[in-house]
């Protein structure tokens, strides 16, 4: 039993952190929000090059996965850096497609997903009614129960998180009746949980930095006990969401996976949102201002709070498994 990242996994996280720190992700997200997808797609290709997308694709289809622990490790970094794009949706789609029989024509998309040349999105009504960034995706899927369809999309809707561009879908022909929406939903919720913990963690980091340097009333605000205790509470929440996320990743393929994912998503959403509210309170008007970067992640934490199933919905699923 060794329930911490091993050296290779840590190195992977550090590599992604470095890659993303150099990519000026806040600017990429702002451009993505404004409809300029090129920098974001270039980053997609870089991340694919680092192996991120292949983690969701089985080896038989040109991938390296599915490797849930490595996936959540990667999505934690995607969250920390506020990377825009349908990564959650692509990973969820890839894991679902990877579980189809190899004979299924739908598995033909997998190699292109793994190497980053195919960006996917998907809708899973009712919990995930819109397809994120459907206009950028080369493949938009819609899954309802066991029926997998290729979908068209309408106009973009405006989300609180400007880098999240949501589209209604119009479901087309059934591709296969052998896919399980539950498989996509569980994996989507899991990597979304990891992303949320990353978002919360970065918000805590920048809030601590701000509290150290911002002076009011003649001293750094980090000397005020109210600020200190807010930040301590943010840390406590995030510290306990993380093991739930990794614990769920390790139960992939077992009967407890769905409930473990739900525990992780509920906890990650609550603790990241708490961190966002605290970040806003510690930053004051600076956190409330569009052009300062903390606002990007504050908005994302709220948007992801209800994405891929609300905390209440996931808690209900945990109880269904228990009772």
């Amino acid at each position: 039993m060794r329930f911490i990242l091993d050296a290779e996994q840590r190195l992977f996280a550090e590599t992604l952190d470095k890659l993303l720190a150099e990519a000026a992700t806040a600017a990429v997200a702002r451009e993505w929000a404004a409809g300029g997808h090129e920098p974001g797609l270039a980053l997609w290709r870089s991340l694919a090059g680092a192996g991120v997308l292949a983690l969701a694709v089985p080896e038989s289809a040109g991938g390296a996965g599915p490797l849930p622990v490595e996936l959540v490790t990667a999505f934690h970094e995607l969250g920390r850096h506020g990377v825009p794009g349908p990564y959650v949706e692509t990973a969820a789609a890839a894991v679902m497609l990877g579980r189809l029989p190899e004979s299924s024509p739908a598995t033909a998309w997998l190699p292109a997903i793994a190497d980053g040349t195919l960006v996917a999105s998907l809708a899973l009504p009712p919990a995930v009614p819109y397809a994120l960034d459907a206009d950028v995706a080369g493949l938009v899927l819609s899954v309802d129960g066991e029926e997998l369809r290729v979908a068209g999309h309408g106009e973009a809707r405006v989300s609180l998180d400007p880098a999240r561009r949501l589209f209604s879908v119009t479901a087309g022909e059934v591709i296969t009746s052998g896919a399980a929406a539950a498989e996509a939903y569980d994996m989507g919720a899991l990597v979304c949980a990891a992303q949320l913990v990353g978002v919360g963690r970065r918000l805590l980091e920048v809030s601590v930095d701000h509290a150290r340097t911002r002076r009011q009333f003649g001293r750094p605000i980090g000397e005020f006990q109210a600020v200190r205790h807010h930040l301590a509470d943010a840390l406590v929440g995030l510290e306990y969401a993380r093991p739930l996320v990794y614990g769920a990743a390790l139960s992939y393929g077992t009967p407890g996976f769905a409930a473990d994912v739900s525990a992780a998503k509920a906890s990650a959403a609550e603790s990241a949102y708490t961190a966002a509210r605290i970040a806003l309170q510690v930053h004051g008007a600076i956190g409330y201002t569009d052009e300062y970067d903390p606002s990007l992640l504050i908005r994302k934490a709220r948007a992801l709070h209800t994405a891929w199933g609300s905390p209440a919905a996931h808690r209900a699923r945990v109880m269904s498994a228990l009772v």
Partner: protein, 375 residues
């Protein structure tokens, strides 16, 4: 003790009928856009024509001397009717009470009527990049010159300033005096020579604020509010008032809570008692705020620092109310719309007009009488 509102009933009926006849059938465009700002200004003109823009003011300035109870009733009816947001709010709730206390007769006669009619929309210009909650550390200056003052420096997070006509706020007029002294409270035109305004977006990107840069902006003596050097005291009147009921009238939250119940009826899952419990909780809190309003106007003493108790309560209620609505909407909660706009607006509540941390310090020291913390 009674809760007999009948004295205000005729006024309630008049207001309700007028609103039923005049509130736009489709919502005005967002007041954080140039087009919406103009539409909201026109709406203020319409309210003013019916003497409903500033009901509690004296008649000579465009009001109708409404009693505090009538004012509460007006607010209830106004927000229950879904009438437009008040673009004149910064002037009416922040500058006007200050003028009533410190303004000269000339200032009252000159400033208030166009404020009441929407002809002049005012922006608050208080915060600076280095001085958010800590007003005493303001650095933008007012320097004595012939017949007036020259403003220099920068203000930021100035509400409404992207489109407003005039601004007001404290400037440092004596750099030698210590923190709370040497401030002077001034009014100035936003289109004056030397003023540069740069709209900045709030959390949803809408330019609800601006940054203001001052380069030798001339302000005549007649636009000083109170005595030069007394700006701290003058400003504290405004914040005292801001933290009372006027900034957030109970009618606003009661109307929002009633709409939330309506949303629950339309969109909620009746079997979801967890969500029902949250809706009930915020509705009860809105009712408590409404009843507290009646208690407040029944008192004859100055509520003083107790206004901080109100500020903490309404700001937390407003966030909880809108969080509940977003959660009720599920995956649609993140999409642009009335509830999301209200949520974004609510998030400013615990921050502005003195953060809730500062309000709790005020409560501890001035309401509970706890010892002042060593600074």
């Amino acid at each position: 003790m009674d809760l007999d509102l009948s004295a205000a009933e005729p006024f309630r009926v008049e207001v309700r009928q007028w609103l039923r006849a005049h509130v736009p059938a489709t919502p005005l465009p967002s007041l954080e856009t140039a087009e919406g700002f103009a539409a909201h200004r026109a709406w203020e003109r319409e309210l003013h024509a019916a003497r409903l823009s500033v009901v509690s003011w004296p008649e000579e300035y465009g009001g109708r001397n409404a009693t505090p109870l009538e004012w509460l009733v007006f607010e209830e009816e106004y927000y229950a009717a879904g009438a437009p947001g008040r673009v004149s709010q910064n002037g009416v709730t922040l500058l006007a009470p200050t003028l009533f206390r410190y303004g000269t007769p000339e200032q009252l006669a000159r400033v208030l009527p166009p404020m009441a009619s929407g002809a002049e929309i005012w922006a608050q210009a208080w915060s600076e990049p280095g001085a958010g909650s800590d007003l005493a550390s303001l650095r933008a200056t007012a320097t004595r010159t012939d017949g007036g003052w020259l403003l220099n420096g920068q203000k930021t997070w100035s509400s409404r300033a992207a489109f407003a006509d005039r601004g007001f706020g404290p400037f440092r007029s004596d750099p030698e005096a210590d923190r709370h002294r040497g401030l002077t409270y001034l009014m100035f035109p936003l289109d004056a020579e030397g003023v540069t305004r740069r709209p900045i977006g709030r959390l949803d990107g809408k330019p609800a604020f601006a940054e203001l840069f001052f380069d030798d902006v001339f302000v005549p003596d007649q636009d000083v509010v109170g005595a030069p050097g007394e700006g701290w005291r003058v400003a504290m009147t405004t914040t005292g008032n801001e933290r009372g009921l006027t900034l957030r009238s109970p009618g606003r939250f009661m109307a929002a809570a009633d709409r939330l119940v309506e949303l629950w009826r339309e969109r909620g899952d009746p079997a979801d008692t967890a969500m029902r419990d949250r809706v009930a909780d915020v509705w009860i809190r809105a009712r408590a705020y409404r009843l507290k309003g009646f208690e407040t106007i029944s008192r004859t003493d100055d509520i003083g620092a107790e206004s901080s108790v109100n500020k903490v309560f309404w700001s937390e209620l407003d966030v909880a109310l809108h969080e509940t609505a977003l959660d009720l909407l599920g995956p649609d909660g993140e999409l642009a719309g009335e509830w999301l706009e209200g949520y974004v607006f609510s998030l400013a509540g615990p921050i502005y007009a003195g953060t809730n941390e500062i309000q709790r310090d005020v409560i501890a020291e001035r309401v509970l009488g706890l010892p002042r913390a060593g600074r």
